[in-house]
């Protein structure tokens, strides 16, 4: 399940998708915002709440996790060529951010030059497999499982376009948005076709009553 991390005025709430390197606290991790962007985040100083973050595409993450590019290079190759400097404002008790150019990140804010990720375990392997689903193509049939959702149901959908990701290796739970559905089959009537076609937004169901046990997220546009 994604966990809340921090709220930034410009971006909104960030959720931790996976912790890649943990020491006494998480040092390198991936976050999501509410519209499905991924950020690779690095702790620079936890006592002062200093972090850097870059907008990270799936390819960049996979290349870093499979040691095709070094960690410092990953931060320099931000999707939008920017870096976000995050710090804690102890006066106002909130996190603040400012943007810079990813190619100009100071060396002391980056992982060692040329150092690769090099951690290999089931957690990382499954994460790589899961984020690959991001690139699913048009009209592929997908199964959306509502296990542990409000009801125990399975919905099969064929969508005209799909943009999404799974946060965990298990069942897909959360639908953020469905733009168009060409076919659907609902096993056990929990969601009416009309509701789905009306771009029903399930994101507001992310609370303890309806999302208990939620372990994955899928966004369909």
């Amino acid at each position: 399940m994604s966990k809340k991390w921090i709220n930034l005025k410009e971006i909104g709430m960030l959720f931790i998708e996976i912790v890649l390197i943990q020491f006494d606290i998480p040092l390198l991790f991936v976050c999501n915002d509410s519209i499905g962007n991924r950020y690779l985040v690095l702790c620079v100083d936890e006592e002062y709440g200093e972090y850097i973050a870059i907008l990270a595409g799936v390819d960049l993450l996979i290349n870093m996790l499979t040691n095709k590019i070094s960690m410092d290079m990953a931060f320099k190759q931000s999707k939008d060529k920017n870096v976000i400097y995050i710090s804690y404002d102890f006066t106002n008790k909130c996190f603040v951010m400012k943007k810079g150019k990813s190619k100009e990140i100071p060396e002391n804010y980056l992982p060692d030059a040329g150092a690769c990720f090099e951690i290999s375990n089931d957690k990382i392997t499954k994460y790589i497999e899961n984020i690959k689903i991001y690139s699913i193509s048009i009209n592929q049939e997908i199964n959306i499982y509502y296990s542990k959702f409000k009801f125990e149901k399975v919905v099969q959908l064929t969508v005209d376009s799909f943009y999404g990701h799974i946060f965990d290796e298990n069942k897909v739970i959360k639908i953020n948005r469905i733009r168009k559905i060409s076919q659907h089959k609902i096993v056990d009537n929990i969601v009416e076709k009309d509701e789905l076609e009306n771009e029903l937004n399930f994101s507001n169901m992310n609370n303890k009553n309806t999302m208990e046990g939620c372990i994955c997220q899928l966004a369909v546009y």
Partner: protein, 139 residues
């Protein structure tokens, strides 16, 4: 169970009693000692040994950005595979060290994270496991 919660530090005890967080069923309360590695802060020429402070949770340290609804933030993170900790030495925060030692049930229960060697160790109030740990790597 409420009686059991009384054994934990105040902040964890309150979170458990209010059900802000819930121990999962897989939590290990009675177990044989485990060898584990813990990332600690080393300060050359002043702090080069393991102390009780090295086992404080993120919540106890009250670090900026700590999510008080995340059970993992109430634990002391340890690893069974040192390689997962060593990766942190490539990252910018300096003065890191690795201590190896024994996780014992008299210090507190633990949860082993799925698919990795990450252990969430929930220490009882007042315990000090530092005598069971020693520094093996620093920078």
């Amino acid at each position: 169970m409420n009686y059991y919660f009384m054994r934990f530090p105040s902040v964890l005890k309150k979170a458990l009693q209010s059900e802000r967080i819930i121990f999962p069923e897989c939590i290990m309360i009675k177990y044989e000692p485990l060898i584990a590695y813990r990332g600690i802060r080393i300060i050359p020429d002043s702090k080069i040994t393991v102390t009780k402070e090295d086992f404080k949770s993120q919540v106890e340290r009250n670090l900026p950005g700590t999510n008080f609804d995340d059970i993992g933030n109430y634990s002391c993170s340890c690893f069974m595979d040192m390689a997962e900790l060593k990766a942190a030495f490539k990252l910018p925060r300096k003065n890191k060290g690795i201590a190896v030692g024994l996780i014992r049930d008299n210090y507190g229960p633990y949860i082993l994270e799925d698919d990795s060697s990450h252990i969430h160790w929930f220490l009882y109030d007042g315990v000090d496991p530092s005598s069971d740990f020693k520094v093996i790597k620093d920078e």
